[in-house]
Symmetry: C2
Subunit: 475 residues, 2 copies
């Protein structure tokens, strides 16, 4: 409008020429719990490459998924919208068949619009394709796909070389999603169960291993059994297998990063390492207890100013898309987001205003209706179980796990620090003081001394539901 | 294979040349309960054209939907698969966002493959489009679409004329789905409620009426209040509006049939009239009680041999697709079906082997998880409420209805013959003797005298769940 004299063309006004913007690598592990990473304090599991990334970048100590279920969590990661707002209420595959609304504009699409070239490799597990469109699919994965490359993260890394090397003025966005360390398929193609709980799951491990992967084996006696799990032989045996899958995954991460370094791209690439949800054991995955939602998250900026920094800001997976769009300086007019960018504070000490996160779980499998909403502050957590009169639903792979079946068949009453009855039958509200009770055993919701705290946090949840257009707000 | 001498070409072996096969018109009303049709015994509501169709064709006295929810029921009608097997577990529109599996082959697709030309008009309410593909969409409808033609069934009929008249050797399949007599929208485009329960819904009725529709008005005092509804002024007022929408719908049916007669096509056309589910009132829609699932169904064969026949065979909407494919003599190799064709028995008296139907309800709105399975025999019905510990969920339009709110706000304890507590809190199993207790009030599931009957019917449901690959079989 007005005079064109003096106007400059859009190309000239662009503050950040496309080529100067960093590449982005988003690595998403499958069911990698925070308690099984070296740099998060586990002295046994070998994750030297992930640890090295933390040494060179920023390690988040308070990073949370918003729902501890694979497809919904990935949908939040890739949209910045809670699953209840993007339509991906549960798992995408087979009969579960959830998908996001056609109107959603996801991270790869917005980055492509901003001038990035985009590719993914490994597990997608969200739908529909046009919403989660990447320009290139280097090789597909997914724990339900027998031809998946996702169990061979080193091979995955190698498959990315040509995409990384492509001659282009455009920066790239690579979405690198492994199948590791998820449990191996529990259902055969004909629908019959492969694992019936009578032996440990192999977590993708196989005799002879995978090409170019140096196997790490673990002894059941050396693993660290977290407080939410039973210290049984069965559980230790499965944790040993789980660790092996994690070490395999770690080598893939290492290979990918090495290539970025070798080709001189490391200093112009943002690398994010995180997991969709916690470990594939009852008490973690599908739960909004800490083991399910508090996760590893490491971010290496192109040129870190404070290598090895530990960031205590509370962030959630709803913040990942806004942050990466911010880093890419992408114009995102019209794209709704429910998280917010934390780009500015990644390497900042003592940040203010990052002291709570919200989460929302709807279903997992189609039969596992159990909507929950959560607000997690520094000290307190409130979980709202909207369908609390139902028994807590068990995911098939967790129900059939050696760890769970062993406890059930030997008629034990406890699972970790929790009683099985308490695990399966939950109250409408669960209020925990994480400082006094880090294992979330003592529900304060009915304690009159915490009445004011409960009311205050309930009001927060109500606001969260309103602001995020939660279909469950009437429940 | 073998000698080609004597082989005949596919064209020559075709027993039923395409042109000799009948046209098919499938009319699906929206929420038209069996108790509000003249030929089903209601002396007040004027449905002369539907009644005339029954006089000329066959009226089914025991026809049942398998789930009393719009999208799921339509998915069953159009696939022959229960909703739990086709993926359409709940409503299709807005945030509910359910859809069928991409691999499903639906009635219009199979009829097109069999040489039919296909078109639809009005409400679809199932997805995805490529699964429920019609060659032509004459005009779209749907109660959530302000531009819908579905409230003007006479206009709908007129819009079909060119398609019917099209010069073609192919028979046609016309899917004619009205918005009548559904309640009017309860939510404005901005999400705010239009109806808050303080006044009667208008069921699409409007001042000045619709083009070429002779309005029928009803007085609240003259309507018939069925046993499942409260005999209140509020309910009678809403029923009067409901009747008006039904009479409008009836005129559209009449116009369509008249045109088929006028153009000489009536004697080569199969016409089916039915409804997706029962009346839009608590106690009917979303329920597997008789008012929700036992529905009008009239089928006029091209040349009826027994005009006015009343068929007592028990059929369900899972049988409609197999029957119409059978009538069309369509080859359906590879298309899985869970219903069975009743073509052979339409005009047959005292048929054997049609004495039970099965149903399966999963959700309605995304927040309304309440899976139920039902087997309905001649005398007994067993409903299995899989998530019975949840309160029975109320659909938004029924919850906000004048009829329901009036009862709630005046603090009545009964709704029809049922207590409100019983309506909202249901046991795991409900067993009714429909002969002694047609209103399904006295649950016999805990009565020791019916132990054997209960066990037998539970075994039937179990078999049904196994045979139809029910994801909920483990619950």
């Amino acid at each position: 409008m007005g005079s064109t004299i003096g106007d400059v063309s859009p190309v000239q006004t662009e503050n950040h020429p496309v080529a100067a913007r960093p590449n982005i690598v988003l690595i998403v592990a499958d069911d990698h719990g925070r308690e099984a990473v070296g740099c998060y304090g586990n002295p046994t599991v070998r994750t030297p490459h992930i640890d090295q990334l933390a040494t060179e970048g920023t390690r988040f100590s308070h990073a949370f998924c918003t729902t501890a279920s694979c497809s919904p969590s990935r949908s939040v990661l890739l949209t910045g919208l809670h699953n209840h707002a993007n339509g991906m209420y549960g798992l995408q595959h087979q009969e579960h068949h959830f998908s996001s609304f056609d109107t959603i504009r996801s991270l790869p699409v917005l980055l492509e619009q901003a001038g990035y070239r985009t590719a993914r490799i490994g597990k997608l597990h969200v739908a529909p394709e046009q919403v989660y469109h990447f320009q290139r699919v280097l090789k597909a994965g997914g724990v339900n796909d027998p031809a998946s490359i996702g169990r061979s993260p080193v091979e995955m890394a190698r498959e990315c070389y040509p995409f990384i090397d492509e001659k282009s003025d455009k920066p790239f966005f690579l979405y690198f999603a492994t199948d590791d360390p998820h449990r191996s398929n529990t259902v055969a193609p004909d629908g019959s169960p492969i694992f019936d709980g009578s032996k440990p799951n192999l977590f993708g491990n196989r005799p002879g291993g995978y090409p170019q992967v140096g196997d790490h084996f673990y002894q059941p006696r050396e693993v660290r059994v977290p407080a939410y799990l039973p210290d049984t032989k069965a559980c230790r045996t499965e944790l040993a297998q789980y660790y092996e899958a994690i070490s395999r995954l770690d080598q893939g991460v290492g290979r990918l990063i090495d290539y970025l370094k070798d080709t001189g791209r490391y200093d112009n690439t943002v690398i994010v390492y995180l997991s969709d949800n916690g470990a594939p054991f009852p008490g973690s995955k599908t739960n909004l207890y800490e083991p399910g939602m508090r996760l590893p998250c490491i971010i290496k900026l192109p040129k870190p100013e404070r290598p090895g920094f530990v960031q205590a800001a509370m962030i959630s997976w709803a913040d990942i898309t806004p942050t990466l769009l911010d880093i890419a300086d992408a114009q995102t007019t019209g794209a709704q987001q429910q998280g917010r960018s934390f780009k500015a504070i990644i390497e900042q000490e003592d940040v203010a205003g990052w002291d709570e996160v919200y989460g929302s779980h709807s279903l997992h499998e189609i039969t596992m209706y159990y909507p929950m909403r959560v607000v997690r502050e520094r000290r307190y957590k409130l979980i709202f179980n909207l369908a609390h009169s139902l028994p807590y639903p068990m995911a098939l792979d967790l129900y059939q796990s050696f760890t769970w079946q062993d406890v059930i068949q030997t008629k034990q009453k406890q699972f970790g620090k929790r009683t099985i009855v308490a695990y399966l039958h939950r109250p409408r509200f669960e209020l925990y003081d994480l400082q006094a009770d880090p294992d979330e055993i003592h529900n304060l919701a009915t304690n009159p001394a915490y009445r004011a705290k409960l009311t205050q946090m309930q009001a927060k949840l109500r606001r969260f539901q309103q602001q995020t257009q939660d279909p469950w707000i009437g429940k």
